[in-house]
């Protein structure tokens, strides 16, 4: 069991890894998968429960201890040292040394190259990791784990940013490790991968263990039911909305190295879904539109007027709002109160005679908190103490308070429990009904398919598909999101 203040991230979880087998762990965002991994790795201390390794009870106080015990972990977030070389990143803290403790760089380099050869990738082992693509960073994480020669290998969404070919190579390595008699744990949101690679599957929901079954005895439908805990249809309360004129027009937006020639429109009352794999560049496009990131060419128009580049303030006054993907880092000032967070974007409009008072902020914040039913004791509670779903509502409230015409939401339900999730969906639907143009970026296919009137798909910085609601099947969207460059052309 593990709790973060008020949030109970992990209630109960029983999971047994066996030698020579690959065990899948699946569950919705925020189900507690990563928390479980971090407890096993010794990064978090469990509040209750036991971990046994080869029958013996263990209790790791630090990641160094779990490493020493032969447990290698690939975390969901890459943990690289940007200023150090690729080789050093792989071997940091356990570099091969000679008798007097001098690092044997040659051996280290050779070993790194050997691992890369085994993975079938060509990364210069001497370059610094700063500037590597997310996929390459993930490959280095994998190389790091392999080099550990661990008995237990835990991979938290290692394939999220990889292309088909890279995934296949990783699978080959994983299978060979399994055949060597190691125990592997594999976390993924992609069912095809789970079925292709794993032997057993465990499902978690809301921090609780649901079921463990051999992969041969279950099906996708069964797993989804276990993950969601209710009918999926109920999750996406899509209301009919009247679709009006173009409100957001993006034309030929390009930022070298990140995205190319992105053009699309969003109309009043329409929900446009933007799908794609992690690292496809969707968030970057959203940030460029809003003006937080620069772009080199192209234009953005809101209701007919062009937005200046790199000026979020101008975008806001023209009626654009962006609920960013990482609410903890980009959406909220966690150390500040709920009321100050809700009023941060509208602070200038709340002044009386140029002065901004707590009272004005509290009044405005109370309005939006009650409309969105934020669960908090008082408006001066630190936002960081709220649960994930309520934090997300605070971000939504902050942006709805600006009364936008165009609302861009980036991963609006990431890490939110199922109940709140459907609330957020209903809210988005209602907003669309009132004529707000909504661009919804999401990595969850069911969410995109369930909510969007139109689905755009991005892959490697380019728009690769556009489907009206009726034609947006999971297969079509996934194909546009993953197909190799050559196939698409």
């Amino acid at each position: 069991m593990k709790s973060f203040g008020a949030v109970v991230a992990l209630r109960s979880g029983t999971i047994t890894l066996e030698q020579g087998s690959i065990h899948a762990l699946i569950g919705e965002n925020g189900a507690g998968k990563s928390t479980l991994v971090k407890i096993i790795a010794g990064l978090y201390r469990r509040d209750a429960g036991t971990i046994r390794l080869r029958g013996e009870e263990v209790d790791f106080h630090s990641t160094a201890q779990s490493k020493a015990a032969g447990i290698a972990v690939i975390y969901q977030e890459p943990t690289l040292f940007p200023d150090l070389s690729v080789t050093e990143n792989i071997f940091m803290g356990r570099q091969p040394v000679n008798r007097i403790g001098r690092i044997d760089r040659k051996a280290m380099r050779a070993e790194a190259q050997e691992i890369f050869a085994r993975l079938g990738v060509s990364i210069d082992p001497d370059r610094i990791t700063d500037g590597l693509s997310i996929a390459d960073q993930q490959i280095i994480e994998i190389a790091k784990a392999i080099s550990l020669d661990a008995r237990v290998l835990i991979m938290d969404e290692p394939t999220a940013a990889l292309s088909g070919v890279e995934v296949e190579r990783l699978f080959a390595v994983a299978r060979s490790l399994r055949d060597e008699g190691r125990a592997l744990m594999f976390i993924s949101h992609r069912f095809d991968e789970v079925f292709a690679l794993c032997d057993t599957v465990t499902v978690m929901r809301d921090g609780s263990y649901i079921a463990t079954e051999p992969i041969a005895e279950t099906s996708v439908d069964e797993l989804v039911r276990q993950m969601v805990g209710r009918d999926v249809a109920e999750l996406f309360p899509k209301l009919p909305a009247e679709i009006g004129d173009d409100v957001l027009v993006v034309n030929g937006l390009t930022r070298p190295g990140v995205f190319h020639d992105i053009s699309f429109t969003v109309r009043a009352g329409e929900i446009v879904g933007l799908a794609g794999l992690v690292g496809a560049g969707r968030s970057e496009v959203a940030r460029a539109i809003f003006g937080v990131d620069p772009y080199s060419s192209g234009s953005v128009r809101v209701a007919g007027t062009a937005l200046p580049k790199g000026n979020p303030n101008a975008a806001m006054t023209r009626g654009l709002a962006l609920v960013p993907e990482d609410r903890r880092k980009q959406g909220l000032v966690l150390d500040e109160s709920v009321s100050r967070n809700i009023t941060l974007a509208i602070r200038s409009t709340l002044t009386k005679g140029g002065l901004l008072t707590d009272r004005a902020q509290n009044t405005a914040a109370a309005l939006w908190a009650s409309r969105l039913e934020v669960k908090t004791a008082a408006l001066d509670a630190e936002t960081g103490t709220l649960s994930g779903g309520n934090q997300q509502k605070v971000v939504l409230g902050k942006w709805l308070a600006t009364e936008p015409r165009v609302l861009i939401v980036d991963e609006p339900t990431r890490g939110i429990d199922v109940g709140t999730k459907s609330e957020v969906h209903r809210l988005l639907s209602e907003l669309a009904q009132q004529g707000i143009a909504i661009l919804m970026i999401s990595s969850e296919l069911p969410e995109v398919l369930g909510m969007a009137d139109r689905v755009l798909v991005m892959r490697e910085g380019a728009l690769t598909g556009e489907f009206p609601r009726s034609e947006a099947t999971p297969e079509a969207v996934m194909f546009a999101a993953t197909a190799d460059k050559e196939d698409a052309k």
Partner: protein, 349 residues
Amino acid sequence: MTATTAPPAKPAQPGSSAATRIVSHVFKARETGILIALLAVIVVATTVNPNFLFSSDGFRDLLLTPSLLLLVAVGQAIVIITRNVDLSVGSVLGLTAYLTGRLFIDIPGIPVIAVFLAGIAFGAILGLINGALVAFARVPALVITLGTLYIYRGINVAWTGSDRINASDLPAAFRGLGTGQILFIPILTIIAVIVLVIAAWVLRNLRSGREFYAIGSDPDAAHLYGLRVTRRILTAFVLSGALAGLSGVLYAARYGTVSSAAGTGLELQAIGAAVIGGVAISGGVGTVWGAAIGAYLLLTINRALPILGIQDFWQRAVVGALIIGAIVLDRVLAIRQHRKLIEAREDVR
């Protein structure tokens, strides 16, 4: 500053032979640029006044004057590499220099080596106090060492009172260390260079050395990784303190007189030397070689200015310009490199 615009240290292309890799590495290293600048200063000053290099005093002072700063800058560089900073080094130097004199006065006949060990140990303890406050209380090093800068200096002034150490209080053999030479190389410089070489070797070749870089490069990742962050930060501060302590002992040997103001303002010079030498204030980047060359460049410019007919009042302005020039340069190089990497990725696409 044009001499320092060497291209950034960039990874060699795979497949090139080891020899060409080393050559290109040396050629492209950030330290090379600053070394060229140093040589240029020496050449220009010597052209104007040959005594700058070609008199025995000139040659000696060229090597000797920056040796003390070099030691402190090496310690400072290690601390900065871990993404911290040690503002108290000047005060630590002052305290140990005074301790050195006191030991000679209060314990007649004390062996010189014992004084050295005492000075280093004392500096290390002062460093340990800094490190413990930073590592355990998780308070930024800037604030802690600003506080200990005051505290150590205050203790020094209170302890010294008006009993400054005079040259006559120190044994001649000890003072000889401060000015003596072996084969035309001042002893102080030899000590400094030995320390430098050891520090450079450790930072490059030992696991613990590399961990300093890892911690400075990304402290959170270092924590995830299971590196012993607390211990390494403690070590960095202890090293910085010990080196400041060592240079305190050497300060007494070189200058003979120790007042309570010894080493005042040294912290900025040490940070300046490190930054000029390519040690990034944001951690994870740089070498002690760079810091050492930075120390030589700083003090050699100081000595060259009067020879070039520039009033020495302008020295500090030159130091400031150098620091700003160096960080702007590093920034420009970093942006250029980043753009190249992006372009490379674009090409692959």
